[in-house]
C-alpha cells in the first residue's frame, strides 16, 4: 500500500527532500492561513453523523470519564446541538417543549432515557389541538443561567413551542455566570447577549477567552477539531449501547450538616434583594423567547432531617438564604408576570441521590408527571395547575 512512498522508482535525492520540506512547509502555512481567513469551523461544527447514521443524542454530550461514558465534554455549541435529537425536523403533530436546567435536569446518575424530558415525552400528553408533547433535554451539568440563555438563543431556530426552565438558588449567583468554561470559550456569543440585552455583566471581563488570529488556524483549532471528531466517533457507542454516562456507585447526599448559615459570601441574616441575585437573566430569557411561553420551575431538592437541619435544608443551601430566595423569586414572578412554579419540596427525600438536587429515575419520573400536568393545565386553562399553588 505504501510502496510508492517507501520504495520509489527513482532513489530519493537531497534535492527531492529539500523540495518536499519546502513544499510541505508552504502548504502547511497556506492551509493554516486559509483556515484562519475562511473560518470553516462554523460549517464543520454543524456537520454531524447524528440524526442520520446514528440516532440523535437524548441530551448534550457531557462526561467526567469519556472512555466509560461514551461521550466527551465540548464547548462547541453548534456541534452539541447537531448531535442532539432537537436538531431533527419537527413533526407536524409535535408540540416541542424545551427543558433547560442543571445536572439534575440533565439526568446525572440516571440513563439518558430516564431524565425528565424523555419521561415527559413517554407520558404521551395529547393537547386539545391533537398535538403531542415532545420534550427535549437541553439541560447541562452545573447551574449557570448564562449558559441556559445561550442554549435558549440557539434553540430558537429549532421551532420550540414552550420552554421549561429549571432553576435553583445556585443558578442565580451573579458573579459566577462567566466562570463556566462553555461561557468563557464562547465569549463572542455571551458578549453579544450582554450588549444586546444590557445585561449587568462586563463584556470585557478578563475571564472571557478570546481567540486571536493564530487561534483561528488549524493549529489553534486543533482541540476543537479533535473534540468534534471524538463526539462523532462516540456516536457509534451511543447507537450501539444507548449509554452516555457510566453509572457507578455513589455516596448518598449527607443528612447531617455543618452548622453554617452563610452562603457563597452572603452572611446571615440573609435577605436577598433583586440586585443580589442574577434575576436579570430571566428577563433576558423572556425577551429572547418573545411570544414563546417560558415556565420557570424552582427545582425540587432534598430536605435534610439530621444534625443542623434546623439551620440548613441540605449541604447546598442554608434555610435563611433559601427562604429569602424563594420569597423573592415568587414576588418577582408576580411583578414581572413570569410563569413560575415552585416545586422545591415536591419530591420525597428518597428521590435524591448523591447531591441534594440529583434525582433517581423514579424522582425524575414523578417530576415529569407534574410538569406534564402543568403544561396541559397551562395550555388548556391558562394557569399552572395545583402542583404549583
Amino acid at each position: 500500500m505504501w510502496n510508492w512512498l517507501i520504495h520509489p522508482k527513482e532513489p530519493y535525492t537531497w534535492g527531492f527532500i529539500a523540495r518536499v520540506v519546502i513544499k510541505a512547509t508552504l502548504l502547511f502555512i497556506v492551509f493554516n492561513l486559509l483556515f484562519a481567513f475562511l473560518r470553516p469551523m462554523d460549517f464543520i461544527n454543524r456537520l454531524t453523523l447524528y440524526n442520520g447514521l446514528f440516532a440523535g443524542r437524548e441530551r448534550f454530550p457531557y462526561s467526567d470519564n469519556p472512555p466509560q461514558d461514551y461521550a466527551i465534554t465540548t464547548d462547541n455549541i453548534p456541534a452539541m446541538f447537531a448531535s442532539h435529537i432537537v436538531s431533527r425536523p419537527k413533526a407536524d403533530d409535535e408540540y416541542r417543549v424545551i427543558i433547560l436546567g442543571n445536572s439534575a435536569t440533565w439526568g446525572y446518575w440516571v440513563s439518558a432515557y430516564d431524565a425528565i424530558a424523555p419521561q415527559l415525552t413517554d407520558q404521551n400528553y395529547l393537547l386539545g389541538d391533537g398535538k403531542r408533547v415532545v420534550a427535549y433535554n437541553l439541560a447541562y451539568p452545573n447551574s449557570y443561567l448564562s449558559r441556559d440563555l445561550i442554549f435558549l438563543e440557539e434553540v430558537m431556530q429549532y421551532q420550540p413551542d414552550m420552554v421549561i426552565w429549571f432553576v435553583t438558588m445556585g443558578s442565580f449567583l451573579p458573579q459566577r455566570q462567566i466562570d463556566f468554561p462553555l461561557i468563557r470559550n464562547n465569549a463572542q456569543r455571551m458578549r453579544s447577549l450582554i450588549e444586546a440585552y444590557d445585561l449587568y455583566l462586563d463584556p470585557q471581563d478578563p475571564r472571557f477567552n478570546t481567540t486571536d488570529f493564530f487561534g483561528q488556524t488549524i493549529i489553534g483549532q486543533r482541540r476543537t477539531l479533535s473534540l468534534w471528531l471524538q463526539t462523532q466517533l462516540y456516536g457509534v457507542m451511543w447507537q450501539s449501547t444507548g449509554i452516555d454516562q457510566f453509572i457507578e456507585a455513589y455516596q448518598l447526599r449527607p443528612n447531617d450538616l455543618e452548622n453554617n448559615l452563610s452562603w457563597q459570601g452572603f452572611e446571615p441574616p440573609i435577605n436577598f434583594t433583586e440586585q443580589d441575585l442574577a434575576f436579570d437573566f430571566i428577563r433576558v430569557g423572556q425577551d429572547l423567547a418573545g411570544d414563546l411561553p417560558i415556565i420557570i420551575v424552582n427545582q425540587p431538592m432534598f430536605i435534610a432531617t439530621g444534625q443542623n437541619s434546623d439551620v440548613r435544608y441540605n449541604d447546598h443551601f442554608p434555610r435563611g438564604a433559601y427562604d429569602s430566595y424563594r420569597a423573592l423569586i415568587a414576588n418577582l414572578a408576580v411583578k414581572y408576570q413570569w410563569q413560575y412554579c415552585d416545586l422545591w419540596d415536591a419530591l420525597p427525600n428518597e428521590s435524591f441521590t448523591d447531591t441534594p438536587l440529583h434525582m433517581t429515575a423514579q424522582g425524575t419520573g414523578e417530576l415529569a408527571r407534574m410538569i406534564g400536568e402543568m403544561i396541559t393545565d397551562y395550555l388548556e386553562f391558562g394557569y399552572l395547575g395545583k402542583e404549583c399553588e
Partner: protein, 488 residues
C-alpha cells in the same frame, strides 16, 4: 515513559543525527548505549518500590548471562575477549552511575521511571551479578553447555509462566508488597510487575539459547548480543528479529552511507505511516472497539458487530502501526527489522492469514515449536498419520501463540480456534487441490472464489478476536449470542 509521540520524535531526530553526524566507527556502540538506556527509559513506573529499576536491570543481567552461556568454547572453556570485557564493565559502570539519578529532580530524570535505589544497595547486587557471570563462565564448559542451555530455556519459560499467569503474578505482587511494607490488598500485576518487553525479550533469549544448542548461533560479541536482545525500537512490541540477521546489519553499520537520502526518507516515512495508523486510526477506533465493559452493553446484533469490527481493525492498526514505527526507526539507525504484517485481513485462507499476521512471532513458533515437534513425531516408532502430525503440530503451535499473550482460558481457546481453523483448511486444501488447479483456469470465478475466501477468513479471524478481547468465557459466549441476535 511510554512509546509516545514525543519519544518517537526524539528517536527520529536521533536517527537523523546518528546517520548524518556520528562517526561510522561509533555507530555500533551508540546503538548499544541507546538500547541499554532505553531499557530504563521506556520502563513504565511501577508501584512497588524500585521494581521499575530492578526489572530493566534484570533484563540486562539475563541478557549478559545468556551471552556467557551461549558463547562458543572452541577449546572447551569460556574466555573473555578484551571487547566483551569492556562491554561488561560498561554495564557495571552504568549500574553504579544510574543510582545517582535519585539526586536529580523527577522532572529532569528522563532515564529511570522513578527514583532508583541507593548505590550501597546496588553494589551488593553488582557483586552478586559478577560472581554469577564469572562462575557460570567457569562452570559452563563445552561438555556441560548443552545441559546448562536447556536449564536456561526452562528457567526463562518458568519466569514467563509466573508473570503471565494472572493468579501467580497476583500472588507474587502481593508477596512483594508485603516485603516492601505496602498494602497487599492493592496488589495488581499490571501496576506492580509490568516488565517492559519481557514477552519479546524471552523469545529472543530462547531463540539464542536454542540456536546455540543446535549449533546454528554465529559468534556474537556481548555488545551485539545485548543490543539484539534490547534493541530499543523493537523492545516494547517487536518485531522479533533473528540474531544472525541482526548482527549482519550491525556489522554493516561501519560501511553504511549515513547520508543516503533514500534510507532516511524510507525510515522517516515508515515512522509517519506508523504514527498515522497507531495514533489516528487505531486510537480513534479504540473509542468504540469491543471491550469487557461494552460487551454487555450492546443493545442490538448490528451494534455488537460494529464493536467487534472496530476491535479487529483497531488491533491491526495499533500493532502494525507500532511495527511500522519500530521498523522505520530501525532503518534510520541502519537496522532493517523484519516485516511483521502483510495485509493480513486480505488473505483468502487462514493459513495465508498466519503468514501475514505477526509474521515474526509466527516464524519463531514455526522454527521452535512446529518444526521440531512434527520432525520428532516423524521419528516415532509408531509414526502417526500425516494428518495427526499436522493436527498435533498446529494445535501446539497455536495454543502456545495464544498463551504467549497471557496464560488464561480465553487465550487458550483463541489458540485452539486458530489451530482448528488451520487444520480444517489443511484438510480442505489437500482434498480440493486437483479441483482447484482446474478451477484456476476460470479467471472470473477464481476472482469471486478469492473474495469469498477473503470474506470467510476475515470473519473467522474476527470471531476469534472475541476470545482474545474478553477476559472470560461467559462474556465471550454472551457476545457470540448477541452477534446472532440472542441474549438481548
Amino acid at each position: 515513559m511510554t512509546f509516545n509521540l514525543t519519544l518517537i520524535a526524539i528517536f527520529v531526530a536521533g536517527g537523523w543525527g546518528y546517520s548524518l553526524i556520528l562517526p561510522k566507527a561509533w555507530r555500533g556502540s551508540a546503538l548499544f548505549i541507546a538500547s541499554v538506556l532505553a531499557v530504563y527509559a521506556l520502563q513504565p513506573p511501577l508501584l512497588i518500590r524500585y521494581m521499575d529499576f530492578i526489572l530493566p536491570t534484570a533484563t540486562l543481567l539475563v541478557a549478559t548471562v545468556v551471552w556467557v552461556l551461549t558463547a562458543p568454547r572452541p577449546d572447551g572453556k569460556f574466555k573473555w575477549s578484551r571487547a566483551d570485557f569492556q562491554t561488561l564493565w560498561f554495564i557495571v559502570a552504568l549500574l553504579v552511575i544510574l543510582p545517582l539519578f535519585r539526586f536529580i529532580p523527577a522532572e529532569y530524570n528522563v532515564i529511570t521511571a522513578s527514583r532508583p535505589p541507593e548505590q550501597r544497595n546496588i553494589i551488593f547486587a553488582i557483586a552478586g551479578f559478577l560472581v554469577i557471570i564469572f562462575g557460570l563462565g567457569l562452570f559452563t564448559t563445552a561438555s556441560r553447555q548443552r545441559r546448562v542451555l536447556s536449564i536456561a530455556i526452562l528457567a526463562i519459560i518458568g519466569v514467563f509462566i509466573l508473570l503471565k499467569t494472572e493468579s501467580i503474578a497476583l500472588a507474587i505482587s502481593q508477596w512483594l508488597r508485603t516485603q516492601t511494607e505496602r498494602d497487599p490488598a492493592l496488589a495488581n500485576p499490571l501496576t506492580d510487575l509490568n516488565w517492559l518487553g519481557f514477552s519479546y525479550v524471552a523469545f529472543r533469549l530462547i531463540h539464542v539459547l536454542r540456536d546455540r544448542q543446535m549449533g546454528k548461533l554465529p559468534d556474537i560479541s556481548l555488545r551485539d548480543m545485548i543490543t539484539y536482545i534490547v534493541f530499543f525500537p523493537s523492545l516494547t512490541a517487536g518485531p522479533i528479529d533473528r540474531v544472525e540477521r541482526f548482527t549482519e546489519d550491525i556489522k554493516a553499520l561501519r560501511d553504511m552511507n549515513g547520508r543516503d537520502p533514500s534510507r532516511l526518507v524510507e525510515g522517516t516515512s515508515r515512522v509517519v505511516i506508523g504514527i498515522f495508523k497507531k495514533f489516528v486510526v487505531a486510537d480513534s477506533l479504540a473509542l468504540f472497539a469491543l471491550s469487557a465493559t461494552n460487551a454487555g452493553q450492546a443493545t442490538s446484533a448490528g451494534g455488537m458487530w460494529v464493536l467487534l469490527y472496530a476491535y479487529a481493525f483497531r488491533l491491526f492498526f495499533d500493532f502494525s502501526g507500532y511495527s511500522d514505527i519500530a521498523i522505520g526507526i530501525g532503518i534510520l539507525f541502519g537496522v532493517r527489522l523484519p516485516e511483521n504484517f502483510n495485509r493480513p485481513y486480505l488473505k483468502n485462507s487462514i493459513t495465508a492469514f498466519w503468514q501475514a499476521w505477526h509474521i515474526t512471532l509466527s516464524n519463531w513458533v514455526r522454527f521452535y515449536i512446529f518444526s521440531p515437534l512434527t520432525r520428532s513425531m516423524l521419528r516415532w516408532k509408531r509414526r502417526p498419520s500425516s494428518n495427526v502430525i499436522a493436527f498435533m503440530g498446529l494445535m501446539a503451535t497455536m495454543i502456545i501463540i495464544g498463551l504467549w499473550h497471557g496464560i488464561s482460558f480465553t487465550f487458550f481457546i483463541w489458540g485452539l480456534w486458530h489451530g482448528v481453523g488451520l487444520f480444517i483448511h489443511k484438510l480442505w486444501s489437500d482434498r480440493t487441490r486437483k479441483w482447484y488447479i482446474q478451477f484456476k483456469k476460470k479467471e472470473g470465478q477464481l476472482r469471486l472464489w478469492n473474495w469469498a475466501g477473503i470474506v470467510a477468513t476475515f470473519h473467522f479471524v474476527v470471531l476469534g478476536w472475541v476470545w482474545f478481547a474478553l477476559p472470560d468465557v461467559t462474556t465471550a459466549l454472551s457476545v457470540f449470542g448477541k452477534l446472532v441476535g440472542a441474549g438481548f
